[in-house]
Assembly symmetry: C2
Homo-oligomer: 146 residues x 2
DNA sequence: TTGATATTGAAAACCATTTTCAATATGTAG
DNA sequence: CTACATATTGAAAATGGTTTTCAATATCAA
């Protein structure tokens, strides 16, 4: 876990006239130490164990807050759940998603990103964000399918 | 409108032991003649005009059916609506989406697609489908922002 | 310490989408 | 052409992830 994530959150909160709370800090810590691509429900279950008092709604609210604060990325995959992942400073990556077992593999490709900028430029478009997902079969599922 | 879309649908239906209905044909025709990226509700409203009897649920069901039949692509953008677009034979394209005015611009880029295949290959992954969306400001909104 | 108000948990509300159900339409067998 | 098994329909209710409401509580500036 990045040393100053909690701190980063309080700075954001202070800047917005919002308040630091124990719940927000607890949720953030569990969020960071948990794996990536968590849905709100998954996070809720994980948070429940060490902190049974925390409510469902607070997890949802905090997750949206983290996204606003730039600490999390919010993504909707095709399964209908909104998933969040902790956003390390300037690491952006995309996803390979197995349609059979649900595995999510991350990748980065600078050449693709560069080409995206080309496309945007040609369309007078300023890219703020992007999303690239490749859906298909992962290596394991391809083997099993035979 | 492609001459044999209705025909293509009935072939699919027959093959699946399903039935052709006037509603399905009517919805398909309105779907094809309407613009791209329609949500179910948008299509419902358009279908209502010439065919007031058609129900909401039938539009939803038919849209899913068209996706199964390969006549439509189902996409979830970040606005929370599932949108459908008529799928011309082998035209796949991606999207630039303006976060301000909602404009959706389509583009194709073979080099990006080729690089996607490279990434997949390196991960022993077989791509069935992909999704590339660039979110940002379109040319018009960039001008207005100044 | 106090007061204004942001936040919380629980439950209810939302809202796009799906399902249920009785009535109706379709396609096949006779 | 007719009858029947059953797929499909429209309307309304149900679903399910997410958001909102509300009274109680916590935070923070003064």
């Amino acid at each position: 876990m990045r040393k100053n994530a909690v701190e980063q959150l309080s700075e954001y909160l202070a800047g917005q006239g919002l308040r630091s709370t124990t719940q927000r800090d607890q949720i953030l810590q569990v969020f960071i130490s948990a794996g990536r691509h968590l849905s709100a429900e998954e996070l809720y279950l994980r948070v429940k164990k060490p902190h049974p008092g925390i409510g469902y709604a607070t997890v949802y609210r905090t997750l949206k807050l983290l996204a606003e604060a730039g600490l999390a990325d919010e993504r909707r995959f095709e399964d209908g759940f909104t998933r969040y992942e902790y956003k390390a400073s300037d690491d952006h990556h995309d996803h390979l998603i197995c349609t059979k077992c649900g595995a999510i593999i991350e990748f980065e490709n600078e050449r693709i990103e560069a080409l995206q900028q080309d496309v945007a430029r040609k369309n007078h478009f300023l890219v703020q964000n992007h999303k690239l997902e490749l859906y298909g079969l992962c290596g394991d599922c391809r083997k099993k399918n035979r």
